[in-house]
């Protein structure tokens, strides 16, 4: 069947910080260039979730007058704390003894979703055509193998893939250059990395899962501008992770937890670790009398420069965390994502105007401050594979004494789906029941995300082998999907005493953790019908 075709100079897939910065920069450099940006969420920002303590470096370059333009970057960091948590006690680490990359006094506490909404408005004012609710579901190739563009998802298919009355076919978008800005573990980015072998010679990518809740707390528990991080309890010393607690404006606290997806115990439930973390006396006292108003989760990149794939290929570029530009020790990826998009825009302008090769993207990237930053940060995350204590000691030497200039690079040895040990060899974890005041179950949490997918559409979580979850994964790993999924999508139910694997795909909050952590890589996340997924507010 032939689909309708629309032609553009540049197509951008994804309306997060990297895609929007690409779009803005393109229009700033050449107002006549035709730029189309596709976003799978029902509006820009609705699928954005991030801490976020924001470094303004890239924004300063993109919009030197961002304050005048009323960018939602308002709450300056005024105070910092770092706590090591034991089960009951906590030890405060002096901030002057923290590596420079973890010092935040020049930064701002923001909602990245709101910043993206603002960037979207700026982009539209510059003439970028933004289409929310239209996921790019398919990559189109030219005969010579180069990327030709993307196709949008067909709308109005039923469970079996037949057309409903409301069927609306997807369309083809062709462009001189297509920019993939889907964020961490983008499903088209994944296809490109495989097809063009962009990860050859690189370490396997490393991921984490990040949770975030927004709380409205009592006035006397609120300290606007305070940024606090913790390490330690409730995670064991072999599991990489930690929390953030940011006191934003309007008596709100952005509270979250990040756990490395290279964890080994299949009984571990990242969601329950996060819930349990909130019961620590040092945290609970802040939340008491408050109210949880938002919840969400999203996978993030942790691999750094060792795992960063080649970011160009014929006809296309990867930007932001679709490639993996997050700076892990800094716990920040927004400024690097934005900058990578801006560099991509410069590349595209020179490519179209002067016929330069897209490979100049790499040179420009390697000469930028993003590369320098990521290079200095490279040894921190791998050192934590030796455990928390050695990781901290090494990081102190690497980051404080040598400022990231040690003459060697530690490697990431395993992909995250390879790290799980057999369920019968690992201790079961007894998580406390939610109290519905400080801690909650998955169902009531998912409710807060506003996620929804139209009924009666094809399941967007594909199993390569539908038998595998019960036949293999359940027996060997006690089917960890039940626990790593932050939205309760996967369940093992029992019918007539026989286990059955159930996928509640309508609950999906598009975090991509299943696509990353499934031990046999049996689950593939593809785009559901446009507009589906969470409806995050100021996340």
């Amino acid at each position: 069947m032939s689909r309708e075709v629309m032609e553009y100079d540049v197509i951008i897939v994804g309306g997060g910080p990297s895609g929007l910065s690409t779009a803005v920069k393109l229009k700033q450099l050449n107002p006549d260039i035709n730029v189309c940006l596709l976003e799978k969420a029902s509006e820009i920002g609705a699928h954005i979730l991030s801490g976020n303590v924001f470094e303004t470096r890239a924004l300063d370059e993109l919009f030197p007058n961002w304050k005048e333009l009323k960018a939602p970057v308002e709450t300056k960091v005024t105070k910092e704390k770092f706590l090591f948590l034991g089960k009951e006690k906590s030890l405060s680490w002096p901030t002057w003894l923290l590596p420079k990359v973890q010092q935040n006094h020049k930064n701002y506490i923001i909602s990245l979703a709101n910043l993206c909404r603002w960037l979207g408005e700026q982009a539209e004012n510059l003439g970028v055509e933004i289409f929310p609710g239209f996921p790019a579901s398919e990559i189109l190739y030219n005969e010579d193998g180069s990327v030709k563009g993307v196709a949008t998802q067909d709308m109005g298919l039923d469970k079996d893939g037949s057309k409903k009355d409301s069927f609306e076919p997807g369309i083809e978008l062709h462009a001189k250059v297509t920019v993939f800005a889907e964020g961490c573990r983008g499903h088209l980015g994944k296809e490109l990395i495989n097809k063009f072998e962009l990860s050859n010679g690189k370490d396997p990518q490393q991921y984490g899962i990040g949770f975030k809740e927004i709380w409205e707390v009592r006035e006397n528990n609120h300290d606007e501008g305070l940024v606090m991080h913790t390490a330690g309890w409730p995670l064991d010393k072999n599991t990489y992770g930690g929390s953030f607690v940011y006191h934003a404006k309007n008596k709100q606290i952005y509270l979250g937890y990040v756990i490395g997806l290279d964890y080994q115990n299949p009984h571990l439930s990242p969601f329950d670790e996060f819930q349990r973390f909130k019961t620590h006396p040092a945290i609970k006292k802040t939340l008491e009398g408050g109210k949880r108003i938002s919840y969400g989760a999203r996978a993030l990149i942790e691999g750094g420069i060792q795992s960063l794939p080649k970011m160009y290929m014929p006809g296309a570029l990867l930007v932001g965390c679709d490639a993996g530009t997050l700076n892990m020790p800094k716990i920040k990826g927004s400024h690097t994502a934005m900058k990578s998009g801006m560099i991509a825009a410069e590349t595209i302008i020179e490519h179209i105007k002067e016929n330069k090769k897209l490979s100049i993207y790499e040179e420009k990237f390697n000469n930028s401050w993003v590369y320098k930053e990521l290079h200095e940060a490279r040894n921190v995350k791998p050192s934590f594979s030796w455990g928390l204590i050695l990781g901290i000691l090494f990081t102190g030497i690497d980051q404080i004494l040598f400022r990231g200039k040690l003459p060697f690079t530690l490697r990431h040895k395993h992909a995250d789906h390879e790290t799980l040990k057999m369920a019968d060899k690992m201790p079961k974890i007894d998580y406390p029941k939610p109290d519905n005041i400080i801690t909650f179950d998955k169902t009531s949490s998912v409710y807060l995300t506003g996620t929804n997918h139209t009924d009666n559409q094809p399941v967007h979580l594909k199993l390569k082998d539908p038998e595998l979850p019960i036949k293999y994964t359940l027996e060997k790993f006690d089917e960890p999907a039940q626990r790593y999924c932050p939205a309760g999508v996967y369940e093992v139910q029992h019918e007539n005493n026989l286990p059955k694997f159930v996928i509640n795909s309508q609950n999906c909050i598009h975090c991509k953790t299943c696509d990353i952590k499934e031990p046999s890589q049996n689950i593939t996340w593809v785009t559901p019908e446009g507009g589906g997924g969470p409806k995050y507010g100021n996340m």
Partner: protein, 249 residues
């Protein structure tokens, strides 16, 4: 035939609505907004009637602040021909909306006015009925099926007892139920084209209508939390509890 369709911008039905700290209303800042769902059915039905050759023009209208225009734009993307945006700031009640619509009907002279049976934000279910009264037109509310005949409409209504079929003379007001049809998706090329369709801007104050609220809202509160259920051993115990504790029988 010309059809005027009224659409309203409301908080998206998937969003968990939150009451403001000071109980003055609900939080709308950075909350996803959409077209009121049954208004989508109203637009869809109008487009279907036009596609069947029985209507010539569809005009979409909204009453609300600057951003309310998005709902008209969406209506244009799925088949309305042009739009009208009556600008009003702040709270606006069904009576004021009906009076505004009356003025627009006087000017546009449509044969039919469609709208959703009620809006999911205030659930008033009044605008269509009030407009019918103001215009002295027949009304068919809660329509789940509409058949256009010569100068009349046969409308099947969703009523408490089941379905009721009535015939109304045109011109008429029809308020639409969710069962009426399945709204189509706006295609990307049609969204592009909709950007070029005209939307007429009118200030409510220029229509000479007093839009001041007639109702004083004292406070907005969350409904009380539901108590956990209990299990009863047998029917006798259930009956006894319903009688003595719940006092419902």
């Amino acid at each position: 035939m010309k059809i005027l369709v009224a659409v309203k911008r409301v908080i998206d039905y998937n969003v968990q609505v939150r009451v403001k700290d000071d109980n003055s209303g609900v939080v709308t800042e950075n909350v996803k907004m959409s077209t009121n769902p049954p208004d989508d059915n109203a637009i869809e039905e109008a487009v279907k009637i036009k596609e069947s050759g029985k209507a010539k023009e569809i005009v979409a209208i909204t009453v609300g602040d600057e951003k309310a225009q998005e709902t008209v734009r969406k209506a244009l993307a799925v088949g309305a021909d042009r739009g009208i945006h009556v600008k009003v700031e702040g709270v606006i009640e069904p009576l004021a909306v009906s009076k505004i619509l009356q003025k627009i009907v006087d000017k546009e002279k449509p044969d039919l006015v469609f709208m959703g049976k009620q809006a999911i934000d205030d659930d008033c279910n009044q605008t269509g009925q009030m407009l019918a009264a103001l215009l002295n037109w027949p009304q068919a509310t809660f329509a789940s099926k509409i058949e256009v005949k010569d100068k009349t409409l046969e409308v099947t209504r969703e009523v408490d007892e089941g379905l009721e079929t009535i015939e109304v003379n045109v011109p008429a007001i029809v308020t639409c139920d969710l069962r009426l049809n399945e709204p189509r998706y706006a295609s990307l090329p049609n969204i592009m084209k909709a950007k070029k369709k005209p939307i007429e801007q009118i200030n409510a104050s220029d229509l000479g209508i007093d839009t001041k609220p007639r109702i004083e809202q004292i406070k907005v509160e969350e409904p009380p939390k539901r108590k956990a259920g209990i299990k009863v051993a047998n029917v006798e115990e259930l009956v006894q509890k319903l009688k003595n504790e719940a006092k419902v029988i």
